[in-house]
Amino acid sequence: MSEAVIHEEHHDDHDHKPTGIGRWLFSTNHKDIGTMYLVFALVMFFIGGAMALVIRAELFQPGLQYVDPVFFNSMTTVHALVMIFGVVMPAGVGLANWLIPMMIGSPDMALPRLNNMSFWILPFAFALLLSTMFMEGGAPNGGWTMYPPLTLQLGNAFPFLIFAVHFLGISSIMGAINIIATVFNMRAPGMTFMRLPLFVWTWIITAFLLIASLPVLAGAVTMMLTDKFFGTSFFSAAGGGDPVMFQHVFWFFGHPEVYILILPAFGIVSQIIPTFARKPLFGYESMVYATASIAFLSFFVWAHHMFTVGMPLAGELFFMYATMSIAVPTGVKIFNWVATMWRGSMTFETPMLFSLAFVILFSIGGFSGLMLGITPADFQYHDTYFVVAHFHYVLVTGAVFALFAGTYYWLPKWTGHMYDETLGKWHFWLSTISVNVLFFPQHFLGLAGMPRRIPDYSVQFADFNMISSIGGFAFGFSQLLFLYVVIKCVRGGSKVSDQVWEGAHGLEWTLPSPPPFHSFTTPPQVTDATAHS
C-alpha cells in the first residue's frame, strides 16, 4: 500500500520570512530588495540634499562665504551624480521591485539572485564615489557630465569616479535585464501586454532605454580612462582626438537618461490619477504609444544640449525640430491625465495632491525645455541658471514629486498602516510652495545672464539668489517631515484594507496589506474586468 504523507513541519502560513541581517544581505525576495532600494534612495536623498544646501548657503549672498570654489564645484558635481544615480534611479528600481511582480501576478522577479547583486553593487559604487571627497585633489568637480579635458585634470578621484560610474551602470543593466525577463516570462495567465498597468509599461520601456544607452556611457568613460592612463587620444586634441566628440557621446547616453528618470514617474502618476478621479485612465493605448514614442525620439535629440559648440546649420535645425517633436507625445500624456480627471469624482489625498502638482509643474519644466530647444534662443540661455531651473522643474517637481506621490500611494499597501494624512498634506504644501520659491526665481536669474556652476556672482543677482536660497532651505527641511511620516507609518497606524483606496484597481490591491512574503503563490486569472482599470 503506497503512503501519501504530507509533512507540515511548520504552521500552515505562507508568510514565512527570514530574520536578522541575513534577511537583507542575502535576500532574493523582491519586496525586501525593493525596500532596500527605497531606503538607500532616501538616505542618498538626504546626502545629496545636504550638498544642495551647501550650494544654496554659498549662493545666499554674493561673494565667497563658506566654501572655496573648488569644493563648491565638487558639491554641484557630486550633488548631481548622487541625485541622479543614487536617488531617482534607485527609487524607481525600488518601486519596480516592489510593484511589478504584484502588478503582473507573479510570485517574485524572474532572476532573484541577480536582483540581490544589482542592489548591493549600489552602496559599494557610492562608497567609491563619496570616498573621493577625502582624497587629495578633492571630489570630482568638472560637472556630472564629466567633460574632458577638465575632468581629466582631476586628482586621485578620477579613477574612482570612472569605476563608480561603471558599477552604477552594471547595477542598472542588471536591474533592466531582470525587469525585461520578469515581464516577458512571469505575467499571470490573461495578463496580456495591453492589460499591463501603465507603471509596468513605462518600466519595460525604461529598461530597453537603459539597454540601448548605457553601453555608450560605459564606453565613453572607459575611453577617458585610457586617455588618462594608457596614452590613447580619443578625446585629447593634442593627440588628434576631439573633446567635443565626448559631448556627443555623453549626451547620446544623457538624453535617454533623462527619460530613464522621468518615464517611471509618468507610470506612477498614471496609476494614481485614475484612483482618485475614480475613472479609468483616459486613452490607455495612446499612453503606451506616447511612452514608446518619447523613448524612440530620445535617441535623436542629444545635440540640443550642445548647440553652442558650433555645428552645421542643418544639424542645429534637425536637432531643434526633433526636440520640438517630443512635445507631441508628452502633450498626449498631459492631455490624457487631464481628461482622466475631467468630470471625475475627485478627492485630494496626499498622493493625488503630489500627482496634480506633478502635472502642472512638470509642464512648466517641459515648456522651459521647449524654449531651450529653440536653437537661437538656446544661444542666450545656454549654461545659465535658466537651464538649472528647467531641469530642476523636470527632475524635482517631476520625478521626485512622482516618487513622493508613489510612496504615499503604496506605503499603506507595503506596511498595512495608513500614513498620517494631515502630516502628509503639510509635507505636500510645504514642499510645493518652497520648491517654487527655490526654483522659479532661477528662471529670472538665467534670463538675466547668471551663469551656472559659479560660487560667486554679480550683485545684480543678489535678491533672486537670496529668495532661492530661502526656498532651498525650506524645501530641504520640509523633507524631514516626509521622513517622519514614513517612519511613523512603518511603526504603526490605523490598519488598512486590501484595496486601501476606494478607487484603486489592479492586482496589487487584491493582495493583503501588507502583502505576504511571496506575492502570488497561485497565478491569478486576469480578465479585462480585473486588469489595470
Binding site: M1, S2, E3, A4, V5, I6, H7, E8, E9, H10, H14, H16, P18, P107, A110, L111, L114, I173, I177, N178, I180, A181, F184, N185, M186, R187, A188, P189, M191, F208, I211, A212, L214, P215, V216, A218, G219, A220, T222, M223, T226, F234, M245, V249, F252, H518, F520, T521, T522, P523
Partner: protein
C-alpha cells in the same frame, strides 16, 4: 500549472506539470533580435567614428540579456508527466520529449511535502522508495505545489487506479 489526464479504462491517471510561461521563446527572440540590432548598430556606428570601446560593452550587454532570457525560457520549458497505474508510478521529464524516466513501485512509494528548516526557501514535493527519491514540481508556485500534493495523495489513495 497542473493538468490531470484520466485514461478511458480508469486504470491509469496522468498529471502533466509545467511552469507558467507568459511569452513564447520565438516571440522573446523576435524582440531580443530587435534590441540587439539597435544596440549593436549604435556601437558599430560609434566604432566607425573611431570610438572603438563602445561596441564591446554593447556586445557584453546583449550577451547578458540573451543569457538571462535563455535561462528563463530554459526553466519554463520543462514538463513533468506523472503516471499512476495500479502497480507503478512513472515520472518522465523533458522538454521536447521524455529525457529522464523514473519508475517507483506504487505499493512502496511514499509522497512527502518537505519544508526547508528555516522556511526561507519553497517546500519540496518528494517521491521516495527504497532509498531513492525524486522531486516533483520544483518549478511550481507554493500553492500549486500543495495542490499537486493533494491531487497525488488522492490519486494514490484511489484503489481503482
Amino acid at each position: 500549472m497542473i493538468y490531470r489526464v484520466q485514461g478511458s479504462n480508469k486504470t491509469r491517471v496522468d498529471f502533466v506539470v509545467k511552469p507558467n510561461q507568459a511569452m513564447s521563446w520565438r516571440a522573446q527572440m523576435t524582440i531580443y533580435s530587435g534590441v540587439a540590432a539597435v544596440t549593436i548598430t549604435i556601437g558599430t556606428l560609434f566604432y566607425l567614428k573611431g570610438l572603438t570601446l563602445i561596441l564591446p560593452f554593447s556586445g557584453l550587454e546583449i550577451l547578458a540579456l540573451g543569457i538571462a532570457l535563455y535561462l528563463c525560457a530554459w526553466r519554463s520549458g520543462i514538463r513533468e508527466v506523472i503516471s499512476i497505474s495500479s502497480d507503478e508510478i512513472v515520472i518522465e521529464r523533458g522538454r521536447t520529449g521524455p529525457e529522464n524516466r523514473q519508475v517507483f513501485q506504487r505499493p512502496w512509494a511514499k509522497l512527502v511535502l518537505e519544508r526547508s528548516w528555516n522556511n526561507w526557501y519553497p517546500s519540496r514535493l518528494l517521491l521516495r522508495s527504497h532509498g531513492r527519491q525524486t522531486e516533483i514540481g520544483g518549478f511550481l508556485n507554493e500553492q500549486e505545489r500543495q495542490g499537486l500534493a493533494e491531487l497525488l495523495e488522492q490519486a494514490l489513495a484511489d484503489k481503482t487506479e
